[in-house]
Structure formats: structure tokens, C-alpha cells
Symmetry: C2
Subunit: 312 residues, 2 copies
Amino acid sequence: MRALKDIGELAAIRRVVKRLPRRTDVVVGAGDDCAVVKARGSRSHDLLLKSDPVIEGIHFKRGAPPAAVGHKALGRVLSDIAAMGGTPCWALLDMVAPSRTPVKVLDGIYAGAIRIAKRYGVAIVGGDMSQGPALEIHAFAVGQIPRGQAVLRSGARPGHVIFATGTLGGSLKEKHLSFEPRLAEGRFLRHWATSMIDISDGLASDLRHLVEASRAGAVLDATQVPVSIAAWRMKGRRSPLEHALFDGEDFELLFTIPQRKVEAFLTAWQKAFELSCTPMGFITARKGAIELVDANQKKTTLKASGFQHFER
Amino acid sequence: MRALKDIGELAAIRRVVKRLPRRTDVVVGAGDDCAVVKARGSRSHDLLLKSDPVIEGIHFKRGAPPAAVGHKALGRVLSDIAAMGGTPCWALLDMVAPSRTPVKVLDGIYAGAIRIAKRYGVAIVGGDMSQGPALEIHAFAVGQIPRGQAVLRSGARPGHVIFATGTLGGSLKEKHLSFEPRLAEGRFLRHWATSMIDISDGLASDLRHLVEASRAGAVLDATQVPVSIAAWRMKGRRSPLEHALFDGEDFELLFTIPQRKVEAFLTAWQKAFELSCTPMGFITARKGAIELVDANQKKTTLKASGFQHFER
């Protein structure tokens, strides 16, 4: 009998997504960073809907600081709202925990979630607490965005330049528990980017999601990928560039800008933000192909290789 | 070091709820069946937000039919939207599963969720799949309701008559996996009920939630509680009435109607629905006291005794 480990997360998702029921007020269903739907009576704004879990042993190690776990739980869904260019408004938190869980862990998780919620003006309006085999937080967030302005994964066209905010790789060192969702940056990018996604599975995987949604390909300049200091500090067989390409949970924004707007965009960005923003390749017409060009102009093809749940 | 089992679910919830950040567009925050919030630009409708998990070993037994688990996962949150008088529109489903989970379990869960979603016109617009120690579905639903018309737990006043839809008790026999959320009934009750809640923790517990929110008390007529056939068929030490009072997961609606409207209400109800609807007591001014009157007019005080997570 086939099990989830035999097909992996992406095939499991594909299996169910095509059958999901829709409505005429759904602008974007499953398959982008958030769903986009139209609230009744509102002509000015759309709603953004997103859910994501953090699970002990999967998204954080047992013994991780509880406040960091709460921060990450809410931060993950805020990052997805950022990647649409939206503003998060309301969140629900479901907590699952073994009954032996110390009360101070509960307090710490909510303190972390409440702190990041306040920082970004998000109200926590409900949720549920339930007994279960491991510590988990499932966060649900609703954001708002001016009607029709959500930046989707699907808008990249050949020639558009590929950018990422910040630096990439080695998030396990610390950043995966302490990142800031790029909300101000996402709202700014709404006026510039043709496509956008947040980097949660890793640059290579998320660029793949973006080009597949856009029915396009991409070339990345290996010498331009913004490799983080943490990626340089990682020990093991992978090079710093490989960490930047394949590690997950950077929670930076990956997006595309039309070639003719790049100069004006970079000028505007540098006025608005201290955070770095790096051009590192361009979109091609070679559907599904992601090529990496090294310092000697040698091309190699990037395989899909981000983290997948259920895999052996 | 104190653990969750030492304080129980309700104290754990109270501990965090008071600290949760709010916004001016939040009409009702944590503490009712759903949160009620105002979408930007809409003057005609409010949004209802709700999340709830179903967890293997807690909300269903290992080996339960997967389609019934999917049905229950989405049905639970739809029942909460019913209890506000709203219409569910969009849902997200997070699935957690061990990697050994058979693919046909995945298919069955989504088939069950998709069937109930279609029946009530709900679009499933996203969610997440993640590896984890047990099978769980976390459902998040957004409903809509005409502005200001959500029926809260807090509107019951002394003298109002207490009603429940359907029959109660023994849901473990079958109903907890196959119930129908009372959506049409909830929308109808929006025009009649002064307060409403769905019966998920059990009649005694949910009536307690309702009277506490309303800063009132209640008297229940033991001879009028609508005891289900399943409650009569349960084996063990509890009487059928005790099953009706204390078993959870009936997912019927519990609500109050002003005395002067009761006759007109019952006439209208019987025209609209085949489902039974039973008056069984009234609201009192004795804050927090729930009394049960038996056939001999003997009064006993009901203790809080619904299921609480984390308790020993």
C-alpha cells in the first residue's frame, strides 16, 4: 500500500489541489503564498488568507526558546502576506501540546507571538488549545490588500530581472527562529514587482515555484547570489553558495522587476530601506529550466532539491 | 514546575486571552464561537473567523474512516459559524501526518472535507501538509454575516427561554463523525435568538459558557432535555440524561429566545424545519449558577464537567 513517504509532499499536494471546490469570489486559490478572496460589499480591498504550522522536531528542535517558537509560528504566515504585498490584520493560533508541557512554555510561546503581532499591528482574535503528542502551533492569518494589487508568483516574464532581499543560507544557525517578515518591503514591492514569493523552502525551490507558476525558466548568476555570513559559517560538505541555494527558512522576498525599471527601482529601494536587495539573474522562456552560471560562464542545471515533507 | 495538566485547558486559555493584542476593527475577539471583524471598505458585512483541530487519539480514534475525519474537521468550524448565524465562504486545511500514512487516507480525508465543503458552498483555498507524529487536520474558516447581526454568547437575559436543536448525548456512537453543521438553522435564528453557541463541549459546559458570557444563570428542566436515542443506548454508569448533559460533540445549537416571542418563534421554526427544537429551561439572574429541576421539582446545582484538554 502506497504511503505519503512514497510520493512526497509536492505530489500529495498536487493530488488534492485539483479537486478542491472553488467559488466565484475566489481570485487566487491554493498554489500561491496566500489565497486572495473578495469580501462582500467591499470594492476597495481583497482579503489574503494563509495558514501554516510549526511542529516540534520538524520546524523547531525540542528545547528551542518558547518565545522564538511563537515568533516563528506567526512570523511564517506574516511572511506569506508580505510576499503578496499585503498588510496582516487578524490571526488565530491553535496550540497542540502534551499535557506535561510546562506552563512557562505556554507563556513563552504566546509572549513571542504577541510581541511580533504587536510589532506589525496584528490582532490575535482566537484559536484553540488541544492535547496532542507534540508541541505545535498552527497559525492562521488574514491580511488585506487594495483590490487587484496582490503580487502573484505567476507574473514573471522572460527578461525580467530576479532579485532577493537580504542574504541567504544558514538560517538554521539562528535566523529561522528570529527572522522579521518583510512586510514594509512587500508593500513597497507591490508597486514594482511583476512576481513575488517568500523564500521558505530555499532559493532554488522557491525560484522553481515562481518560474513554474509563470510558465518560464531562469538563469542565476552564481557570483551574484547574496550569500549570508551564517552560510559561510556552516560546517559540513555543502559550500556557502549551496547553503544559499538550498537551505530553507530565510524568509526573504524573491521577486522580479522588468529590465527597463531596474535602475529606477534600485534608486527608490535604497532611499526606502537599509536592507540589501540584490539582482542575481533573469527570467528565460525555457519553461521549468533553472540554470546556474558560474564565474567561468559554465552553465549547470539546478535540480529541485528543497525540503519536502514525508520524504524518506 | 507547573505543567498544563495542573491547570487545565480553561485556565490555560484565560491565561493568554487577556494579553492578546486587539485592533479597532475587531468587533468580537477571542471568547465567542467565532471572532467578528470588519473588512476594509465593506459597510454591509462582517467577517467571521474560526479555527479548530481534529487530532488522532483525541478527536477521533485511530482507524476512524478517513472521509469521516475530513468531514468532522471542516464540519466543526462550520458549526461555529452556524452558531453566530453566519454563512461560511472560504476554508484552509492544514494536514499533519506521519510519513507512513497511506495515500488512501489522504484521499479519504480530502474527499470527506470536499464533500461537506461543496454541500455548504465553501471554497477550500489553501492549507499546508506537514510531517508530524500523529494524524491531525487543522481547519480555518472564514464566514460572512450582515454587519452587526452576529449572534453572540453574551445576549441572554433573565427570563429568556433556553432551546436546543435536535437531540443530545451519545454522539460517540456515531454523530461526532457524521453530524451536519446547523447552518440554515443558524441563519434563521439570527432573526430570533438573543444568544447562541454550538454544543461541542456538552450541554452543561456550553450552557455555562453562554451564561458566563451573559453574566447570568440558568434553570434547566431535566424532564425537557431532548435526550437522543444514542444516549439511551450508551452502556455504563451514566444515565441517558447525564449523557445528554455531559457528552460533547453534538454540534447542535443552544440558544435563547425572549419569552414573549416563543410562540411565534416555534410556529415559524416548524414551518421552516423538520429538525426538532426544544425549550428546556430559562435564564436567571443568579450569575454563574446552573440549576437542574427534576420531575419532583427537586433542584440540584450542575457542576462544570465537560471535557477539558490537558486534564489528568
